[in-house]
Amino acid sequence: MLLKKYPKEVQQILSKYPPEGKRSAVMPLLFLAQREEGYVNKAAMQDIAKILDITETDVASIVRFYTLYHDKKAGKYHMQVCTDLPCALRGAEEFLDALCDNLGIEVGETTSDRFLTLEAVTCLAACDKAPMFQTQGPDGIKYHENMNVDKTMGLISVLKKSVT
C-alpha cells in the first residue's frame, strides 16, 4: 500500500541509509504513513515491517515509544500546548486553562466535531515565545508562538476553513 501509493518517497527515504542500516527508514516511513489519516493503522505497520524486513511488533514498539506517532484516530489536528517549566513561568498553564474553557474540553480530549485534540506537552524549544503550541495535522507540524486565546480561536477557524 505505502509502496504503491508513494513509490518515489519510499525509495528516496531508503536511499539515505546504507544497506546494513535499512531499518533506519522506519521513522521516516511512519511519518509518511501517518500523513493522511493522522495515525498509523495496522496495515501500514505491516507494510513498513515488510519493506524493512523487521517484525510488526518492532514497528509497533517504535510507534508507542515516540510521542509524535499515533496509533489511534484522534482529532484532525493535535494542538499541543507546551506547559513545561520555562513556559509555565510565562503563563502557559493559565493559557491552557482558558483554552479548555473556550473549547469546552479538558486536556487530552477531542472536540465533538472531531476536529481538535488538545494536549499538554513538554518543551518545544520556543521557551522565549510562550504561550506557544504546535499543531500536528494534515499539513505537518507547525509552531504557533506568542499566542493568546483570541489568536488561537482565530487560528482554529482558519484551519477549519482550509480543510473543508
Binding site: 521516516p28 511519518f31 524549544a125 521557551c127
Partner: protein
C-alpha cells in the same frame, strides 16, 4: 561586538547561499579540503580550545582525535534534538544561519574522514527539516556537497533524519539507537561512539552550536578564538535566557559574562521588578543556585559556575523570581523527567514515578515528612542510573530541598 554565530542578526539574508558565500562562507571548507590534511583541521580545532556546546563541555578537537582509524567507514552526526527545557539556541542557528552550521558539519566530516553525515533533528522541527533539505540541495548544486569536491577525491553527503518526540534521544547513544530505527534507549558505555557508533562504526557526535563555531575557527585561526572568552572556556556561547525576565531570548556573549549582565543588561531585568531568587543555568536538568549579589557577579564559564554547585551545561538560563513556589517548581521538573524516562533501568523508571507521586502530594496536603522522603528517594537514585537523565531528574529536587528547605517547611504541614 558583532556576532560570530548568530550572524543573521547583522546579515538577515545570510540563510541565502549567495549571501553566505559573499560573506566568506565555504572558504574555510574549500581551503581545508584542497590544502589541509584532515588531522590538521582537527589540530586547529583542538588548539582553539572549543568545547562541546551540548552540555558536557567536552573538548571538541580531542573528541575528533579519538576516532578509530582502524575501522571504516566513519560517520558524523549533528545532535539537533534540542529538547532540554529552556534551550532554544540550535533552532535559531539552523533557522537564521543554516549554512554556517552545515559548513561546520562538513569540516568535521572532512577532519575525521566521513563521507556521510546525518543531522538528527527533533521531529517537532518538521518545518525546519524541510528548509534544511532545501539548503542541502543548494549546497550540492553549488559543488559543496557530492562526489569529488573541488576536484579532490573527497566526497560528502549530508542527510536529515527526523526524530519523533523523545527527550532521551538527545543523549548521544540513544540518538544513535533512534537513528538506527530502534527505540531511543541509551547504550552502555564504553565503548564510546568514536570507537563504536552508528551501525557499529566510528562516529563523531556534536551539538549544532559546536559545529557552527568551526568555520569561524578555521577562517580566523585558533589564536583568535582563544582570545575570546576565558582561559577555561574559549570563545562565545549562546545563552538561552528564559523564565521571569523581561526580554527572554538568545544572547551570544563571550564566556565570562556575568549572570548580572545577562539578566539585567541584556535580558532587561526581572518581570514586575521582582528579585531573582534562583537560577537554573542548564535548563530543567540544573541544580538550583540560590541567588545573592555574589552569585549575580559570577562570570559564566564551565569551571566558575561549578564553584556555585551547579553545571553550566547547555547554558539555558532559567530565571526564578521570588514569586515562584519551590514545591511547584520541582513538581514541574519531576513530571518532565518521569515523562521522558526511557524506562530501561529500574532506579530511573521507578524513582521518577515515586518522586512524581510525592511532589504531586506536596502540592495539596504533603507534610515535612514527605519532603524528607522525597529527598531520600532522589538521593537513592543518584549514581545508580545507566545514563545522565536519571541523575538530571534528581538535581532540582535535591538542591531545591537542601538549599531552600525553609520554603518547603513554610509551604507544607509540619
Amino acid at each position: 561586538m558583532s556576532h560570530i554565530l548568530l550572524r543573521h542578526r547583522e546579515i538577515p539574508d545570510i540563510n541565502n547561499l549567495n549571501v553566505y558565500t559573499k560573506n566568506g562562507g565555504f572558504a574555510a571548507f574549500k581551503n581545508a579540503v584542497t590544502k589541509m590534511k584532515p588531522n590538521e583541521v582537527t589540530d586547529v580545532v583542538k588548539n582553539s580550545g572549543l568545547r562541546g556546546r551540548g552540555g558536557a563541555g567536552f573538548p571538541t578537537g580531542m573528541k575528533w582525535s579519538f576516532i578509530d582509524n582502524k575501522n571504516w567507514p566513519h560517520y558524523v552526526v549533528a545532535n539537533a534534538d534540542e529538547s532540554e527545557p529552556g534551550t532554544f539556541k540550535d533552532r535559531e542557528i539552523m533557522e537564521g544561519n543554516p549554512f554556517q552550521f552545515l559548513e561546520g558539519l562538513a569540516l568535521a566530516s572532512y577532519a575525521v574522514g566521513a563521507n556521510v553525515a546525518y543531522v538528527y533533528l527533533r521531529g517537532e522541527f518538521w518545518e525546519l527539516g524541510a528548509v534544511l533539505d532545501q539548503k542541502i540541495v543548494e549546497m550540492e548544486e553549488a559543488g559543496y556537497l557530492g562526489d569529488k569536491l573541488f576536484g579532490t577525491d573527497y566526497s560528502l553527503r549530508i542527510y536529515n533524519h527526523l526524530g519523533a518526540g523523545a527527550y532521551i534521544c538527545g543523549e548521544e547513544t540513544a540518538l544513535l539507537e533512534s537513528l538506527e530505527g530502534k527505540r531511543g534507549q541509551p547504550r552502555v558505555r564504553p565503548p564510546f561512539p568514536p570507537a563504536v557508533g552508528l551501525y557499529g562504526k566510528p562516529t563523531i557526535i556534536n551539538n549544532v552550536e559546536t559545529f557552527a563555531n568551526v568555520p569561524m575557527i578555521l577562517a580566523n585561526g585558533a589564536e583568535w578564538y582563544k582570545s575570546i572568552g576565558t582561559s577555561d572556556s574559549a570563545g562565545v556561547k549562546i545563552f538561552s535566557l528564559s523564565g521571569r525576565v523581561r526580554k527572554p531570548g538568545n544572547y551570544e556573549l563571550p564566556f565570562g559574562t556575568t549572570f548580572r549582565d545577562l539578566i539585567y543588561k541584556h535580558g532587561g531585568g526581572v518581570q514586575d521588578s521582582r528579585t531573582v531568587k534562583a537560577i537554573m543555568p542548564a535548563g530543567a536538568s540544573s541544580s538550583l543556585i540560590p541567588v545573592d549579589d555574589k552569585v549575580l557577579d559570577t562570570p559564566m564559564d564551565y569551571a566558575t559556575v561549578r564553584t556555585l554547585g551547579a553545571d553550566l551545561g547547555s547554558a539555558s538560563i532559567i530565571v526564578i523570581d521570588d514569586t515562584v513556589s519551590m514545591k511547584w517548581l520541582i513538581n514541574k521538573t519531576v513530571h518532565f523527567f518521569k515523562h521522558e524516562s526511557c524506562g530501561k533501568c529500574t532506579p530511573c523508571r521507578e524513582g521518577t514515578y515515586w518522586m512524581s507521586h510525592l511532589t504531586e502530594d506536596l502540592q495539596h496536603n504533603g507534610s515535612t515528612g514527605d519532603v524528607d522522603l522525597l529527598l531520600n528517594v532522589a538521593k537513592q537514585m543518584q549514581g545508580k542510573c545507566l545514563c545522565a537523565l536519571g541523575e538530571f531528574a534528581t538535581m532540582a529536587v535535591v538542591t531545591g530541598i537542601e538549599r531552600f528547605r525553609k520554603d518547603f517547611d513554610n509551604e507544607v504541614r509540619a
